[in-house]
């Protein structure tokens, strides 16, 4: 996904474009865990040479592309329970080693979806009260990973901002988010404050201000 493609759209990034934007910030040698939804699309935009290692918390380091046809092996799945492949150098391990890797600092980045992100970096993404209870590895990932990147639409379907003053949904972690990538902008969390760092092509600062409940400062340098 090249810059020019993104620029040509002249609107909010598509899910694929957002995934491509996130992939650009990963680096060779990084170990990354990708949540379901937009985060998992990031896998399609990183080098196929395995220089960025994908970790799936069910017990695989070195996840490859989704398996299709004869590649499908019922014993090889990702955290989203889809059939997957393994890159050369991949390793498998039990769940305690997998989460030990996460908690002991071996996971550079986790990319996750969000219901809400607060202006101090709180994340809510595991439970809508009254809905199906289930947390999976979300709390472990945000507590353990060295970087927690959120990939989300800037507003929900009703147009309500997802970057909020305070989360109304139950928290997955307090002050854990380090970056937020939306279809309109990129934010960093610096010293507990949200900082607008980048606008999607054709998006103005006033549009961000209008669609963001959370307080934020702007620093579009570099």
């Amino acid at each position: 996904m090249s810059e020019s493609v993104i620029a040509r759209t002249g609107r909010a990034l598509s899910r694929e474009e957002l995934a491509a934007r996130i992939a650009r910030d990963l680096w060779p040698g990084a170990t990354v865990n990708l949540g379901i939804g937009i985060p998992l699309l990031v896998a399609d935009h990183i080098p196929a040479d395995g220089s960025i290692a994908i970790h799936t918390e069910n017990g695989l380091l070195g996840m490859g592309r989704a398996a299709t046809g004869e590649e499908i092996d019922p014993d090889l799945i990702g955290a989203g329970k889809g059939y997957t492949t393994a890159v050369p150098g991949a390793s498998v391990f039990d769940s305690s080693i997998s989460f030990g890797m996460i908690r002991s600092g071996r996971l550079d980045v986790t990319v996750l979806g969000a219901l809400e992100v607060s202006e101090t970096g709180d994340l809510a993404n595991w439970y809508v009260p009254g809905g199906r209870p289930g947390v999976g590895g979300a709390m472990d990932l945000v507590s353990g990973a060295r970087e927690v990147w959120v990939a989300t639409q800037h507003v929900d379907r009703a147009g309500t901002p997802k970057l909020v003053r305070q989360c109304r949904y139950p928290l997955t972690g307090r002050g854990v988010v380090t970056r937020v990538y939306t279809d309109l902008a990129v934010f960093e969390v610096r010293d507990g404050r949200l900082v607008l760092r980048e606008l999607a092509p054709g998006v103005g600062a006033d549009e961000i201000a209008a669609k963001t409940e959370a307080a934020f400062v702007t620093d579009l340098s570099g």
Binding site: G59, P74, R103, V135, G136, P170, G173
Partner: protein
């Protein structure tokens, strides 16, 4: 069951192999706490779990990452009302239905915390500190535990015990020590040594180590001594009975 009530474990040339699922599951009683390996459908001991239906075992406390997948395994036990309580991270759609009708109790635990609590049980570590879930409803209370038949929430989780250590706050987590573990492995020998395959490993070795009594179903069963010591993923000391996954249920009057 306490550790002191453990049956003497077989080892060496004493074969742990069973010819039927019934024989393999002979120690599983109604009311038991049962850890079940697997993640989604991957590495799940479906044959053992579904045999529990036929054996009439009920009132179970299940510890597992998910509570059934695609209507199989634990989802069938749910449907037949054999599960009293579920401990795990992602119970799933089938569970949610029964939960909303007040049929089953929930202990929701982050996935890595559940893995570590099982591992602690198998390592003789009674409790440990973990940062996971601090400042969330998991640690502070308020996660749904039980609904009534009309789908109203009647019980939420209590706050967990916190502990300061090195200037930081942690949750004090307790080891899980289930009565029984049901696990799936790719390969096993008659001494109970197991080898898993790819991501089907997941919670299986942890469940086996945590439990007081472990039953393994394997795709292939080989004589003791057939697996190189360096190729064994789980030593036979953690396995009590072993059976081929497609073994017959067996007759009640055998």
């Amino acid at each position: 069951m306490s550790i002191d009530e453990l049956p003497t474990r077989a080892a060496g040339p004493v074969s742990k192999a069973c010819g039927t699922l019934r024989e393999a599951l002979a120690h599983v009683r109604s009311g038991a706490t049962v850890a079940v390996g697997g993640f989604g459908a991957c590495g799940t001991p479906i044959a053992l779990v579904e045999a529990l239906l036929d054996l009439g075992v009920d009132d179970l406390h299940i510890i597992s990452n998910n509570c059934g997948q695609d209507g199989r395994g634990l989802a069938l036990l749910l449907k037949e009302r054999r599960i009293r309580k579920f401990t795990g991270s992602f119970p799933g759609a089938a569970f949610a239905e029964h939960f909303a009708r007040g049929e089953v109790e929930l202990e929701l635990v982050p996935q890595g915390t559940a893995a570590e609590r099982l591992r602690a049980g198998g390592a003789g570590v009674p409790a440990f500190l973990l940062a996971t879930g601090v400042d969330t409803a998991y640690a502070d209370g308020g996660v749904p535990v039980l609904m009534d038949a009309e789908g109203r929430l009647v019980k939420e989780s209590e706050p967990k015990q916190k502990q300061e250590f090195g200037g930081r706050t942690y949750v004090l987590e307790e080891a899980l020590r289930p009565d029984v573990a049901l696990v799936h492995a790719h390969l096993g020998d008659e001494a109970g040594n197991l080898r898993f395959r790819l991501t089907a490993r997941n919670f299986n070795p942890l469940a086996a180590m945590a439990a007081l009594h472990t039953v393994a179903q394997v795709e292939t069963l080989v004589p003791t001594g057939s697996i190189d010591p360096d190729d064994i993923h789980l030593p036979g000391a953690f396995v009590d009975r072993i059976v081929i996954a497609d073994a017959p249920l067996g007759d009640a009057d055998e």
